[in-house]
């Protein structure tokens, strides 16, 4: 196992409320790791700590280490901006930039980071949209508004936007929760494909989805990591009683 992210004693707070308690786990490179657990257990906060998005919320605080390729992203002198370029994020609700075309949405990360060469941007836009399985649907409408697409297309546009800056890790926060089954299936296929050369950490509420697409699964409960291991093992023979009860749908 090649470790991409090594999380050590991670704690997180909103004001005085502690939402993550001493979490330590290693996330494998080029695999899909699912974070599961009931609402409010800190799943979203957890992945937001992995690319330093947690701290942009007023009053939010983090302690502990997150080693990315062996380097702690929380050590002094690390610029969160460079961390986020390498560790991208896809949000729960599709959030394309409202005043931008499809093309500009995908190009935004490059353009705003100073890439000027039109050829490079053109290529990156095409490559990212192809990776996100969206190219064939939008290639003739690149100048249309991103907001004019359907919900599922918008989410794939957001994935393409995140891919354009060539991140090594992609954090996904329930990317299918606002989508219909067909769009969900497309995105699940896409996630498996992306995992060939991206490390993916996905928060999901959907147990079947976690079972279908993930290699590893972590069960969080009230901010604590209860169980973590290969998905098959977590789903077939969970060690912990709580995990078993959650997976079988006794609570959620």
């Amino acid at each position: 196992m090649v470790v991409k992210l090594d999380i050590q004693n991670l704690n997180a707070w909103f004001g005085s409320k502690q939402v993550l308690k001493n979490i330590s786990m290693k996330i494998e490179e080029n695999a899909v790791t699912a974070i599961i657990g009931p609402s409010g257990c800190g799943k979203t906060t957890f992945i937001r700590c992995l690319n330093r998005m947690h701290e942009i919320t007023p009053g939010a605080r983090v302690s502990g280490k997150v080693l990315f390729n062996g380097m702690d992203i929380y050590s002094d002198g690390v610029d969160p901006v460079t961390v986020r370029k390498k560790i991208g994020m896809v949000f729960q609700k599709p959030n394309p930039f409202p005043m931008m075309s499809i093309y500009d949405n995908v190009a935004a990360g490059l353009k705003l980071n100073g890439v000027r060469d039109k050829k490079i941007i053109d290529m990156a836009v095409k490559r990212s949209l192809e990776l996100a399985y969206l190219w064939d649907e939008v290639k003739d409408d690149l100048n249309k508004s991103g907001a004019s697409l359907s919900g599922g297309q918008q989410q794939r546009l957001c994935i393409a936007r995140a891919l354009a800056v060539e991140p090594e890790v992609l954090l996904m926060d329930e990317p299918c929760s606002a989508l219909d089954p067909i769009s969900t299936a497309k995105i699940e296929t896409l996630i498996r494909k992306l995992a060939e050369d991206h490390t993916i950490v996905i928060v999901t509420h959907n147990m079947q989805q976690a079972a279908r697409i993930s290699d590893y699964a972590a069960f969080l409960y009230f901010g604590e990591l209860i169980e973590y291991g290969p998905t098959k093992q977590i789903f077939n023979s969970p060690e912990h009683e709580l995990t078993k009860r959650y997976i079988t749908g006794e609570f959620g």
């Binding site: 690319n51 460079t82 994020m89 959030n95 930039f97 409202p98 935004a108 508004s145 995140a162």
Partner: protein, 276 residues
């Protein structure tokens, strides 16, 4: 069945009342437009736009100098007021958690409520008394009137941009300041441009603060440290004069002011229609 009929009658009665109120509300607007058009019609000609105001006894003449003076004064006021207003609006919206924001917001509200003549007399004391009646003093006063309007519309517009849009940009590794200046400002640009245009329309018609800081001037613009002619003051001074052609020019100036405000509102609409 009777109850139903009663309801229908009540419904009709309310409808009539609502239409009547609408009509009454529109009467002043249309009578102003009608009266201004009627009285200024005769004075509108090519001369009106290209010749300066006449001296006593002179026939004809126009308001070209007042158009020029108004453009320069309002332009200078916008150059001062718009950037300050935009930036403080950005501050209030993007850094609203800071304690300073609440104070700044409060003082902008107070500033917005200060009568324009008070701002005028302030500008008079601060600037006119030291450098004399001048375009600079008038522009300073108008800029102060403009700042709270631009600030609050910018703040409101930026607050309507969802946090998810900001987060999407930050998660792409775009620094916060760049996120604010490009993605956030870009998403709100329609509303901000509208706010700026409407504040320009507002100060174009201000007369009291202009009168105390710059005074009335009947000649061409001759430097920022000297007065310039002004459309709103044309209406005030010429309109109350005993000379018939001056009074006609006052109505003409009034019409032009109306057209400018209308034009700016239409422009704001066209610009905000945008691509999407």
């Amino acid at each position: 069945m009777d109850r139903y009929k009663l309801r229908v009658i009540k419904d009709r009665l309310m409808k009539v009342l609502v239409y009547l109120a609408l009509f009454l509300a529109l009467v002043p607007l249309f009578s102003i437009l009608f009266e201004v058009f009627r009285r200024s019609f005769s004075v509108i000609s090519l001369d009106f736009f290209i010749r300066p105001t006449p001296t006593v006894g002179e026939v004809g003449g126009g308001i070209a100098n007042a158009i020029q003076g108004t453009l320069i004064t309002v332009g200078l006021a916008s150059l001062i007021g718009v950037p300050i207003g935009l930036m403080s609006g950005i501050f209030l919206s993007e850094y609203s958690e800071s304690k300073l924001s609440a104070a700044v917001r409060f003082f902008h509200d107070v500033l917005n409520g200060i009568p324009s003549i008070v701002i005028g007399i302030f500008a008079y004391a601060m600037i006119t008394l030291s450098i004399g009646f001048s375009v600079i003093a008038a522009a300073f006063a108008l800029a102060i009137i403009m700042i709270p309007i631009v600030t609050r519309t910018t703040e409101e517009a930026l607050k309507l941009v969802p946090i998810s849009v900001r987060e999407a940009a930050i998660a792409l590794g775009i620094p916060r300041w760049k996120t604010t200046l490009t993605v956030v400002l870009g998403s709100a640009k329609k509303a901000i441009v509208t706010g700026v245009l409407l504040s320009i329309a507002r100060i174009s018609g201000e007369s009291a603060p202009v009168l105390v800081t710059m005074g009335f001037w009947r000649w061409w613009f001759s430097g920022l440290n000297r007065p310039a002619a002004n459309l709103a003051l044309n209406v005030f001074v010429f309109g109350t004069s005993p000379f018939e052609n001056w009074v006609a020019l006052a109505w003409g100036s009034a019409l032009l002011l109306l057209m400018i405000v209308l034009g700016i509102s239409v422009l704001a609409r066209i610009l905000t229609r945008g691509r999407y």
